[in-house]
């Protein structure tokens, strides 16, 4: 008698007991004298169901969750007896949360063993690189341009244009750099991808190397992600051993290698030029632009620097063609966006959908409303530098342009939900405080402005200085216009949106000019 069970090794699942469940499963198997094949996967992104265990069946994988260690003896016996159990969720692919998604970038996450090259190949892996090796650099860049793929890190810059620039720039060496410094709070899609399907990122970077003529790449990973680091190292070793990385890629005579570098707890190193400084072994100080990194990047050489999700989307685009990817999405936002739903919400998790879905659909149809059951008051979209939007703006569509029109930004696609107990003045103060803690210090508006912003908000919150709103607005305008990068430039966004949509929290009546 033997049994195969899938259980995530994703750090989110581990944080709620997946490893304890794994140990309990092994103990039960040996008690029953049953051979247990325990396959550790990434997470499906249905986090309220974690630890989520799966088994094979004629109808595909069957899910059980959330599994507490105490459930394991009963559940194991049930699996041996045919699978009926109170935690049984049915075929996992038919759970509406998953069935209503369009999983392109995340198609393998939660399905495969992330460090098994065989599993990756069996699920369509390295078809993109195989085709890329038959194309010229120009043709690869053209496919990416045709796909409409825009940088998923937050800025939304067209990937094809960036690569075209790096390809055309003269340089003794060129580099591909992956920005895996996913510092934006409320976002975790990069982590899930690296823990659940790291080979897709490695394949994407290899294709980027062929596209711009680089032989060396770096993955710059934040130090807060030790599980992602371990998974990536195992995946890099597997790719190298299989001939998909290093000398003579897939017998082509071409060369590309990758190294993982770990950051050191600095948020600003998610800004691309600060990241390059950090990779060079320096303080993570933002650079002036121009020159663009595509022309003068790492060590002054032409560098394609892209976010994890951007690079991980590339293999599919090359395999299926730019046109295939371009058919998803709305307006100038093409393809799919991995949305990360978190905060006070019943069903937090990863939702990959074509651009254009509304915030309301995400928060209510997927998220099921607040976890506390209290009325929803605000959502913050796009990380710590994103706007706070009230319930009344939830019909806004999730794409780059529609969010900008609503006074917000998409950022890295994180959405954090707050119920009516939130104090928006405290959240505005937090935005300034965060900027003060993480400012690199190079430009004055960000370095000094954020500290002054905290002081002004403290005065407003204490009710002492209602006359300070004009000063705060002046400060926000200066930070927005004169900061060197997005940290200082966008910190006013959460602050101003909080005042605009929730004036009562600042002691203002709705009609007061803020």
């Amino acid at each position: 008698m033997s049994i195969r069970v899938y259980l995530p090794r994703d750090s989110g699942a581990l944080s709620v007991g997946a490893e304890v469940v794994a140990r309990a499963l092994r103990a039960e198997a040996s008690r029953h004298g049953t051979a247990l094949e325990l396959i550790r996967t990434g997470s499906r992104g249905l986090y309220w169901l974690e630890p989520l265990l799966e088994t094979d069946s004629a109808q595909g994988r069957i899910g059980y969750g959330p599994v507490a260690p105490g459930n394991v003896p009963g559940l194991f016996a049930a699996l041996l007896a045919g699978g009926d159990h109170p935690l049984r969720l049915g075929p996992i692919a038919q759970i509406p949360y998953l069935a209503r998604q369009e999983r392109l970038t995340f198609s393998r996450v939660g399905v495969i063993d992330p460090v098994s090259l065989d599993d990756y190949l069996a699920h369509g892996g390295y078809r993109g690189l195989r085709r890329a090796l038959e194309l010229s650099a120009d043709q690869i860049v053209a496919e990416v341009t045709d796909s409409g793929l825009r940088g998923r890190g937050g800025a939304g810059f067209p990937c094809g244009i960036k690569w075209r620039t790096a390809l055309g720039a003269p340089g003794a060496r060129k580099y591909v750099v992956c920005n895996a410094d996913e510092g934006d709070s409320g976002t975790f899609a990069d982590r899930m991808l690296m823990e659940g399907d790291p080979l897709s990122l490695i394949e994407g970077m290899t294709i980027a190397g062929l596209a711009i003529g680089a032989a060396q790449g770096y993955i710059y990973l934040r130090s807060e992600y030790p599980h992602a680091a371990a998974t990536l190292e195992q995946a890099l070793a597997a790719a190298r051993a299989g001939g998909y990385l290093g000398q003579d890629l897939m017998g082509s005579g071409r060369h590309f290698d990758l190294e993982l570098r770990v950051g050191a707890g600095s948020y600003i190193c998610g800004e691309e030029t600060a990241l390059l400084e950090s990779l060079e072994g320096k303080r993570g100080m933002v650079r002036y632009k121009p020159p663009l990194p595509a022309i003068s990047g790492l060590f002054g050489q032409p560098t394609a620097i892209n976010n994890v999700l951007t690079l991980a989307s590339v293999p599919l685009i090359i395999e299926r063609g730019g046109k295939f990817y371009q058919e998803y999405g709305s307006g100038r936002s093409r393809g799919t966006q991995p949305i990360q739903l978190a905060g006070n919400v019943k069903h937090p998790g990863l939702i990959e959908k074509a651009f254009g879905i509304s915030l309301r659909e995400i928060v209510y149809d997927f998220g099921g409303g607040t976890a506390s059951g209290r009325p929803l008051r605000a959502v913050q979209v796009g990380g710590p530098l994103g706007a706070y939007l009230p319930e009344a703006l939830l019909d806004t569509a999730l794409d780059y342009e529609a969010l900008a029109e609503a006074g917000g930004l998409l950022g890295h696609g994180g959405i954090v939900v707050f119920d009516d107990t939130v104090d928006m003045a405290a959240m505005a103060r937090y935005a300034m405080e965060f900027c003060a803690v993480e400012s690199c210090g190079k430009c004055t508006p960000c370095r000094i402005g954020s500290t002054r912003g905290v002081e002004i908000l403290d005065a407003i919150i204490a009710g002492r200085r209602p006359d300070q709103f004009a000063l705060l607005e002046d400060l926000c305008a200066t930070m927005e216009a004169a900061s060197l990068c997005a940290l200082g430039g966008l910190t006013p966004l959460p602050v101003r949106s909080a005042i605009r949509h929730f004036p009562a929290d600042f002691g203002l009546s709705a009609r007061d000019p803020a």
Binding site: S15, E259, G281, R283, A342, G349
Partner: protein, 164 residues
């Protein structure tokens, strides 16, 4: 200011780390990570030999150490507790959790218990936002934490005044 000096043995350990890694491009961060992994912190006396080997000034090396939140120049407590203070965790009670941690350990953020048992650090997102609120204790990540569960975990590590 006097230049801090390492013992001969520690000096040799720092040198062997630097020489093993210095050929890499942009080697300073990997070197500092390795030194901190070995010593638990970056001894001020390590700055001079690292600078000399990499042909940098001591000011440059010190500047890098002091820039990054992760690097520290003094030994941490036996157990490091990192508590996420970002928005998603705030939406699910991180403030109450922070209050409990401070009361239990008798210290504020960025402080170490007088007996050296624990250091409490703020962190701005552990990427576990879908299982908020989140903390790490001794490198292990915990999600969906309540103050009661935090008490259990601190008890298990023998940290702070035990919960009644």
């Amino acid at each position: 200011m006097a230049i801090a000096k390492l013992s001969l043995e520690h000096h040799a350990r720092v040198l062997s780390i630097v020489r093993a890694l210095k050929q890499r491009e942009g080697a300073l961060l990997p070197i500092l990570h390795r030194v901190q992994a070995e010593f638990g912190f970056i001894p001020p006396g390590a700055v001079a030999p690292i600078a000399e080997e990499l042909n940098l000034t001591r000011a440059e090396v010190h500047g890098v150490i002091s820039f990054y939140h992760d690097f520290r120049s003094t030994p941490p407590g036996r157990v490091v507790v990192q508590l996420c203070r970002a928005e998603s965790c705030q939406a699910l009670g991180a403030q109450a959790l922070a209050q409990r941690a401070r009361t239990r350990l008798g210290i504020d953020f960025n402080q170490t218990c007088a007996d050296g048992s624990a250091t409490l650090l703020p962190v701005y997102c552990l990427g576990n936002c879908a299982c908020s609120p989140a903390i790490t204790i001794d490198g292990q990540l915990f999600g969906r934490l309540t103050p009661e569960r935090l008490d259990e975990i601190l008890d298990a590590h023998g940290l702070g005044a035990p919960a009644r």
